[in-house]
Amino acid sequence: MTSLRPTIAGNAIAIFLTVLFVLPITGVLAFVASTPLDNWLMSFGAWLHERTEWSFPLLDTQERFAKIGFAIRSIFIAVGLSFLYFWITNWLNQGLAGFVARGSAGKENKIIEALQPWTFVGPAILLLILFLLVPGFSTLNSSFQDADGVYTVTNYAFLWDPQSLGYGQFRFAMRNSLMWLILVPSACIALGLLIAVLADSVRWGVVAKTFIFVPMAISFVGAAVIWRNIFAGGGIEAIETINGPTPSYQIGLLKALVGQGPENNEPLYALRFWGNFFLMWILVWVQTGFAMVIFSAALRGVPEDTIEAATIDGASPLQMFFRIKLPQIYSTVVVVWTTLVILVLKMFYIPYALSANDNDKMLLATMMEDARTNWIVGNDNVENLFAAIAIMLMLTVVPNMLFNAWRLRREQRAMGH
């Protein structure tokens, strides 16, 4: 085995270099060679334009069709390159090993087997290092630097020092992030469990579950637009005349339900402090379907005999749920909880879409975006402050991350891998 090491290393380098050169060059060549597709589609667009008499200008149509051409070929090239990589590395690995081992099948196999796992996981590991690990540490590094690259803690002081400008936003961002972190997963899990149980007990359960599940397909921005109609306020106010007021209407459903007139047009999600709960609700609406589906499957996996035993003992449905079923799906609840916590920590879209400039609704993630767009005006140090907020965000995930790693490791051991 030891004697094979230099050979393996040599092969590895050969494969790596080949890939490094062959892939980009193939990509560029394929890209250049396929350019005529754009022109072809452009003239096709122009032809269609003439035939169907579209109302856009011709130039627009041509541009759009050229872009579709660009899309098609870039999709094919990008996807083709990723397949090419695996094909070419496999071919090279076998070819080189065969060449080096010169007929000794055992040796050849050993060389192949030593390198193959790395060619399989290589791109994934490389991408993760380049796009998550290295940037993560680089952010950590720059969070401790000032604009001139000198190491300092002023970026964190900017956030934590009550006298500083950043603290005004940061304390709200911290408060809200923690609130979101606790309330949203709890609400999703509670509702998800409730719906899973209810849906299994009625005949139209499948239909109900589909309705609850659909919001998962919608973007958070889309969800914000949707709920705006419900949480909005305003409309047309009444005017007094000598023979009675003119008609008046409220445009927000919830405000109308509680009998509020249009005089106050403040949307519910803009309310001081309480507005946060309306924003959280939107995320609950989106994510409950996820919890529900998984609980629904897990509940069905609860062994029949335990349920039967409980039924014989005369357990009420509530007891059945809390004493028998819930403990058995406990680990699923933990998985869902973890997933939701991660999602909430990355949460950015809903507060950003509905109440951007409002400190009272700030989350750490929205604060980062706010820093990037608003503080950038006239402040050199913005990127480092941005990094410091990102690190604070990261810190709130660390306990979860460690817990997850520990759980995975245990799971792997339990499964004997």
Binding site: I236, N264, A270, T373, W375, I376
Partner: protein
């Protein structure tokens, strides 16, 4: 940021623009700019929609005259993008800054090329109140010495009160000529069961900027222009009596439940563009709306109201009791050279041509301080009226929040004015802004 929103948002209905033939032939003739066939000038700015189309119209006449190609890309996130582009060496030829503050920062970082003393001299000569415009485009370079970097082109007028003449007629109201009369008129409207004002300061992550405009306009009417300038540079602290007083006068309008449609509580959550629509609703939600010259784009019929007598405006009047002349608050976009090239220089020469102004004047949505541009070129009577207000002002001051450091003018000032709208008192608001200012010194 604020102008990004006000202009970028202006209108949605813009496919590609078909310009009428001969839109380049305006009353003024044009000098020879040279031949730059095949050269490309890239421009970025915050303008989108209709304003983008109009800018394209202006640029197309430059293209016609020189053979160069002008590529404009507009984005709402211009402020963030241009900083990134400049730092990463991806500069366009021309950056159109909505705020002098950011342009100044970029000049100090050495990303802008000076336009030269000739251009500055030309502007002093040919723009109304020329030296104040030159001052607006003059920043300290990387070496600390001042140079003329920014060419102000396209001005906005802010000191306007919009109203519906028909409503005034039905209700028997007269146009006020002093602030005292304006307040009396507002009280009269309240007594009549009408609501005098529509005020909305919500604007996404720029919420609060309308309130800063209101306050700046009142600042110019309650204290001297010199104090205004000292306020901008923070030589006059934000929590000094003059400033707090201006904020309180603004509060007399905006925090008065009887004065504001939807009640004072609605000010912070009403979209600034939506507020103006109250003038035209049925029944009318309010009688008056103080907003800059761009606002007709937000009217329900996108400004058609101005033509058939449903909408008009009057000058936001000064206090008769204070002898401060006719102050005018305004703003504008600043064109800077971020990457030098002969064609780019030619474009800046083109901006000096009266014709470059007249083209946009005829497209609408444009005011200019260029004295050589013919008033006849304005697309509408309303614009001509605004042009006259702009040139007949005794004092012109640029929007203060745009001149303050970004963290204040696009940060604390906005958010604290929003807090003020939500009920925070004036002294606390001013103290908070001053504290923020101290924090960045």
């Amino acid at each position: 940021m604020k102008r990004i929103l006000t202009m970028g948002v202006a209108s949605f209905a813009f496919g590609a623009v078909a310009f009428a033939d001969g839109h380049c032939n305006t009353p003024s003739s044009m000098g020879d700019l040279g031949d730059f066939s095949g050269e490309v000038i890239t421009m970025s700015g915050s303008m989108q929609g209709e304003d983008e189309a109009r800018l394209t119209a202006v640029a197309s006449c430059f293209e016609e005259a020189t053979g160069a190609t002008v590529r404009y890309s507009g984005s709402r996130d211009f402020a963030a993008l241009i900083v990134a582009d400049l730092r990463s060496n991806n500069a366009p030829n021309i950056a159109i800054f909505p705020q002098p503050g950011l342009a100044g920062d970029m000049a100090a970082d050495g990303f802008l090329t000076p336009l030269g003393d000739d251009a500055a001299a030309w502007m002093t000569e040919n723009y109304g109140a020329g030296s104040s415009w030159v001052a607006l485009g003059t920043y300290a370079g990387p070496d600390g010495s001042d140079a003329f970097y920014g060419f102000p082109y396209k001005q906005d007028l802010k000191s306007l009160v919009w109203y519906s003449p028909e409503q005034f007629e039905d209700n028997g109201y007269e146009i006020p000529t002093t602030m005292e009369e304006l307040i009396a008129l507002s009280d009269q409207m309240v007594a009549d069961g009408n609501t005098p004002w529509c005020i909305g300061i919500e604007s996404g992550n720029a919420t609060g900027w309308t309130a800063t405009d209101w306050m700046e306009d009142i600042m110019l009417r309650t204290t001297t222009p010199e104090n205004y300038d000292r306020w901008v540079s923070n030589d006059l602290p934000f929590n000094s009596p003059e400033v707090v007083n201006a904020m309180e006068v603004y509060g007399q309008f905006s925090r008065n439940d009887d004065y504001v449609a939807g009640g004072a509580a609605s000010v912070a959550t009403t979209f600034f563009g939506d507020a103006s629509k109250g003038l035209f609703s049925s029944p009318a939600a309010c009688m008056m709306h103080r907003q800059a010259s761009f606002i007709p784009a937000f009217f329900p019929e996108a400004g058609a109201e101005l033509e058939d007598g449903r909408a008009d405006f009057f000058y936001f009047p000064p206090f008769a009791s204070e002898d401060l002349g006719n102050p005018v608050l305004g703003a504008g976009t600043i064109y800077t050279m971020t990457k030098d090239s002969p064609a780019t220089r030619a474009f800046f020469e083109y901006l000096q041509e009266a014709r470059a102004h007249e083209i946009w004047m005829s497209e609408g949505g444009f005011l200019t301080a260029h004295k050589g541009a013919s008033l006849d070129a304005y697309a509408s009577e309303a614009q001509r009226k605004q042009g006259v207000i702009l040139t007949s002002a005794t004092t012109f001051r640029f929007d203060a929040s745009d001149l303050m450091p970004g963290a204040i003018g696009a940060g604390a000032f906005w958010s604290e004015m929003t807090a003020f709208a939500n009920g925070q008192d004036a002294q606390t608001t001013a103290d908070n802004i001053q504290a923020a200012w101290d924090a960045i010194k």
